[in-house]
Amino acid sequence: MNDNEVLVLDVPAVEEARKTAAVQWGLDPRDVDVKVIEEEKSFFGLLGRKLRVEVRPVAPLVLLRGRNILEKLLLLMDLSVTPEITEEGRLNLSGQDAGIIIGKYGETLKSMEFIVNLIARDVDEGEKIYLDSDGYRQRRELSLQRLALAAARKAVRKGKPTYLEPMTSWERRIVHMTLKENSEVETRSVGETPSRKVVVWPLRSGPSSRRR
């Protein structure tokens, strides 16, 4: 974890350090760990003891902020879904309304991811936050691989380029990777987000002979 994500504070009580650090980082008090590194027997008489403590966020800042924003959004949407930080550094949405939060072809999950990134990364340029919902990404990855292979077969059979639906960069990358080793086709992304899509070209009548 980053060095600037440690605060050293002198406080009369641990709870105060927790609150101070949480405010400074834009987190909840539950999101930080406090470790006492020095206990000073009072020279200040009536003020009692003083503690020197180290405070650290319990996970990367951007993920904690993202999780807190998600909790608030899901509450306002009245959905029974709980966001959790995973070992892979993603935010997983789990619960009985997971299907609603994924949406048709994952479009609601994408919207959620987009909004959370806009809000949580506003202040610091942290890493992008990825959302998942109980293995949705893996299922989507498999279906994108099948889609890519089918598009390649179609492009070769018809001798014409096949255009896929608009996709996010993560989805387009899966299509490109799936067909990378396929010598019969070439893939490219065309258009601009959010309508950027993959085109699968058959190589015989492909872009090499048509390129401007």
Partner: protein
């Protein structure tokens, strides 16, 4: 029940440079659609709409996802000039 007005208000306030100018209202129109209207400072309108409408569309989809269980119809729009 989902609180569409609060939901949109919460998001928009965190996207703009001037949160004091944010106003979000909810109205039931005669076709039974809950219509959420966003008003922000002129310099923040683009920020809420986003590139090719990406941001306002995402906000719209989240509101609609909140409406699934209650089977309600909700739409979100932004007042572009005032």
């Amino acid at each position: 029940m989902a609180d569409y007005r609060e939901l949109v208000d919460f998001i928009v306030r965190r996207l703009v440079t001037d949160p004091d100018k944010v106003q979000v209202t909810a109205e039931n129109d005669d076709r039974g659609v809950i219509s959420i209207m966003i008003r922000v400072a002129p310099e923040d309108v683009g920020r809420v709409i986003g590139k090719r409408g990406a941001t306002i569309n995402a906000i719209r989809l989240l509101a609609k996802a909140g409406a699934v269980k209650e089977n309600e119809r909700v739409d979100v729009d932004i007042r572009e000039e005032e």
